[in-house]
Amino acid sequence: MSFDSLAQPWAPTKTDRTQRIPKAANSSWMYMHHPTSWSLEYVKDGKKTKPVFVPKLSRFIMKAGVNGVGGTNDAPQTALARTQIRDNGNVIIDPSKHDYLRVYPAIGGTLTINKWTNPKNLGGKIFMVSDDDGFREWRKSLVADGIIEVPNELVIQGIIQKQLDLIVMHNSKPHIPQAQKDATDAEQKLEDMRKALEGIKKDGKKYYE
């Protein structure tokens, strides 16, 4: 069973509905990004894929009494919280400008999830099916469209250093076949990280187009 017909576009005010998804409600939220949060992903580039550092997003949860949010859960006052979030260097991605949220009637309120997550009911259990490719492409487009700045080289160097540490850890267990496989995979990922970094250094924002 699909819940597509229940999904509503994100809106600043909530509406009452009689049908609901059998999952607990959550608070309204929107994505934000910090300039140090990136992950290596593989995106389609013609018939091939290419490694790209895409932004790792976190959530600004608009729940009354949490992290400077006031008011009520239905009408949160977020001015103070937004200021604090921006002061910490985050970029808030406004859902009224970038259509990325879906709001479902749920148990005890509404369930807000991103539009690439699709709830499915299989035998009474709710499974969240994610369109990972679509979400990845959208995160890439945030950089291509200039909403989020291209990652700083120093930040990427830090991520590469972590990957090197991981390889050292796997290589410390040469007698374990699974560890050797993990080391080989990690080395391939390291190579792709370096390739993505070169792409950023050479083409900048164009690497994301």
Binding site: H34, R59, I61, V69, N114
Partner: protein
């Protein structure tokens, strides 16, 4: 001649009797309020505001000395400061019970009479506290683990390393704690069972940690106090578990000073009042709490993602 059967004597037999005891359904009221890991910033009562600014300052060794020649003048050092503001919100919980429901009550422990409801509301405050704490942690920018992947020993270590390197490698001082959604916690237990590294797989802590667990505190693993909470947030794809240092999060509250209620019961931070609607033969039991939970130092906390 007809037999006298149970099935035909509906006027002298009942369908069922009610049990003399009422059993509780499952609940999760475990939270971090009294663990020592949450900083109590204060109460707004009598303060003239609903918000509290948590002040931070870079003293007691944050700045290093500078070298100087014999007569070179010392240069002034600016003190680093910062703040986070928490704004208290009102939360309420109300039950209405009719006189008929109340007068037909037995003497069982959890009959929904006004006094049992007041005690229940006080317990619900613990659930609210856990809920707001999880929401505050979910707003943290940094995270370890991989979106869409199950919780693992590696992800826990990744989170721990983030804290140990926090704030340009100054590192959070600890002690550390982590809070996991029950699903993520079982995944961590499963990951421990298949751990290849002898240092970990042969630890006494590992043996204890893979055992059956109840609610709240789960035990210590790698020097981290591990808690479990069903209120850990999910973005639809991942549960937003977290690992933190003792000074990462704090809370502000206010205790209602109720005027004019017929009966008031003070239950810790919650105040419960009883309101009577005589015309409808209804009694309302209403609890109010004023609370705010927030991250007060984002260098001391990081999320650990694990698949929903």
């Amino acid at each position: 001649m007809a037999n006298n059967l149970y099935s035909t004597m509906g006027d002298v037999r009942m369908t069922s009797v009610i049990s003399s005891e009422i059993n509780l359904l499952l609940k999760d009221t475990a939270n971090l309020r009294n663990t020592g890991y949450m900083q109590y910033i204060g109460s707004i009562n009598g303060s003239g505001t609903d918000s509290v600014k948590v002040r931070k300052i870079g003293l007691m060794g944050r700045d290093n000395f500078e070298s100087r020649t014999e007569v070179q003048a010392a240069s002034e050092t600016s003190i680093t400061d910062d703040s986070v503001t928490l704004q208290v919100a009102r939360y309420s919980l109300m039950y209405n019970i009719s006189d008929l429901l109340n007068l037909t009550a037995t003497n069982a422990q959890f009959e929904p009479d006004p006094f049992a409801l007041a005690a229940s509301i006080a317990e619900s405050y613990n659930a609210l506290f856990a809920d707001l704490t999880a929401a505050a942690a979910a707003g943290v920018t940094s995270f370890a683990g991989t979106s869409g992947a199950t919780m693992s020993v590696s992800a826990l270590f990744e989170g721990l390393y983030d804290l140990e390197q926090a704030d340009s490698f100054r590192g959070a001082p600890g002690p550390f704690y982590a809070c996991f959604h029950p699903k993520s916690l079982t995944e961590l237990q499963a990951s421990l069972r298949s751990e290849q590294n002898n240092i970990i797989s042969q630890m006494a802590d590992t043996e204890r940690f893979v055992g059956a667990k109840g609610l709240g505190y789960m035990g210590k693993l790698f020097g981290i106090d591990i808690y479990r909470s069903s209120y850990v947030e999910s973005d639809g794809t991942d549960y937003e578990n977290w690992i933190a240092d003792g000074g990462a999060m704090g809370f502000v509250d206010g205790v209602p000073q109720i005027m004019g209620a017929a009966e008031v019961m003070e239950m810790d931070k919650v105040v419960v009042e009883v309101q009577r609607e005589g015309a409808q033969a209804l009694t309302s039991v209403i609890g109010h709490a004023y609370l705010s939970v927030g991250v007060i130092d984002s260098n001391r906390i990081t999320r650990i993602l694990a698949v929903d």
